[in-house]
Amino acid sequence: MQLRTKITSIFIVLTSLFLTGIFILIYYFSKTYTESEFYLRLSQRATIAAQAYLEADDMNLDIYDDIRIRHLQTLPNEKEVIYPVDAESKKPLVKMDKSLPERFYQQIFSEEYAELKKDDYYYTGLLYHDNEGDFIVVLSATDLYGFGKLDNLRNILIITFFISIIFIFILGRYYAKQALSPIAKIIKEVNSIRAESLSLRLETVNGKDELTQLATTFNNMLDRLQISFDLQNNFINNASHELRNPLTAILGQTEIALNKARTEEEYHSILQNIDREAARLDFLVNGLLKLAQTDFDSKGFLIEPIRLDEMLLHIKQNLDVSIPNNRIELNFEALPENEDAITLMGSESLLKVALGNILENACKFSNNKRVTVKIVSDAGYILLTIKDEGVGIPEDELKNIYEPFFRASNVRKIEGFGFGLPLAYRIIKMHAGEIRVVSQINKGTLVKIKLPNKDLENVPSLKL
């Protein structure tokens, strides 16, 4: 079912329910009012009848009859009956009409007035006290005018109901179409976007309604898709470019070497250059291999308990060799007494790569300024903060830092390939951890890592 038809149908059902309720109420109150009005008239006529017949000795019967007929219209099928009764013992002195229920007479005795409806007839009964004794006056009539009016009202309400439904159907359909037309437009526009035309965007108007938000959400999604497409393309471009550079250098060097006979020193120097470029190539290929391993085939890693503080000390020792003038400060002041609180289950080799990369980046991009590393244990998690005072990451590039080969615009001059942080991110995710980077340009970067310790119950399963 189309959304448009669905909205219209729901609208019609709800409105018809509402209208039915309202119309039933109107009919019910009109009927009650008509009946009560008719009973009033009946009771007035019963009083007049009683006075006409029972006080005939005191006044002129002819005058009463004259008034009744001339000024008070006789009701349709009007019939009056007067029974002499004994009000004290509540007993009739003559035989009463047995077709009327006993409770009707009882009510007259107790309340001196009663009403009753039987078939189309309305009855009112009065207890009348006279100098000749007590009497019950029962007056009955049919309310032909009232019935006519009510029938008329019912017909009007039924016709109004159907006319309203037709109008509501037409209006509902029109407005549903109007309201959904932007969605139809969005569907058409989204359908026209292909992989080759990812730069197309949906038209958005100023406003805060849901459809504008939908269009904006689509546009944001397209932005992300385009970025990831671009990054993927860049990855291939960058990877081939980075692989080609050392290869070109090696080929150039060998060509020079083979061009003519060289001295021993020259060959030595050429071989040294080739060795350097080959080492660069080796590093690059190893990096790519690790990235691929964390992405696809991640089985076969040894899972063991690792004390994070000890691991950081090892990493620091290694970095002291590769970056001798680093200023890494390990802050273990907040270490808990319980060593399990800073022990986690994971792959030592992978975590070493991840934390090593982050620390190396911190040193590299801060020109060996101070880097502080702090471990805190809290509620089943190990919180690691690595803070440097380096160049920082530009605000709009923060979201891309986990993409392989992405390099921030302000660090192009610093050597690197751009897969240190992406690799670290994947490894930490594999250990059911979280990594967050807070950075401000020329102020520094704060890397926050949260890893579950081995004591944590309900630990999210390691994706190793």
Binding site: N331, E333, A334, K374, V376, D378, L383, T385, K387, E389, E395, L398, V438, S439, Q440, K443, G444, T445, L446, K448
Partner: protein, 160 residues
């Protein structure tokens, strides 16, 4: 020690600004003052029964308290205290008086509009801070699901 003013909307997200403050003021003990704007009630009853601390307490969720505690734990050396202040004024003059009272040196605010007010009574003080303070550091903060959930919740329909 430096007293830093940071606008807040009582979401965990807004606490990122505290980390930016730490990043901007290394080797300094920070006295963080989190500030939120609240419009005073219109009725006499409302004004006489208005309690600043109570209003703040109503807004601070368990998760927020936990995140605040964790930040203090992580940056014990950098953070001296984190306190809350409520700005109930309506214009810049009121804000300047407020600044004199709380005596802050610097402010860290989000560069884009990232704070969300839970209802029409609450307002974001970022613009007041930007226009009335000299040392304002603008920082990027991410808007996460937490804010969007609140923004599009049923209750927000009534905050016209």
């Amino acid at each position: 020690m430096r007293r830093i003013l940071i606008p807040t909307d009582f979401t965990i997200n807004s606490l990122q600004l505290v980390e930016y403050a730490i990043l901007n003021f290394p080797d300094t003990k920070l006295d963080i003052v989190l500030i939120a704007g609240y419009r005073l009630p219109d009725t006499r009853w409302g004004v006489t029964h208005f309690h600043e601390r109570e209003k703040i307490r109503e807004q601070v969720s368990g998760k927020f308290k936990e995140a605040k505690r964790r930040i203090v734990l992580e940056h014990k050396n950098a953070i001296e205290t984190i306190s809350f202040e409520l700005f109930t004024g309506v214009n810049s003059f009121a804000f300047q008086n407020f600044l004199e009272q709380i005596n802050v040196d610097d402010a860290v605010v989000p560069s884009k509009k990232a704070l969300f007010c839970p209802n029409s009574k609450w307002f974001d003080t970022t613009d007041f801070i930007k226009s009335n303070m000299k040392n304002v550091i603008e920082t990027p903060i991410e808007i996460s699901e937490e804010v969007t959930d609140k923004k599009f919740s049923l209750i927000s329909l009534f905050n016209l």
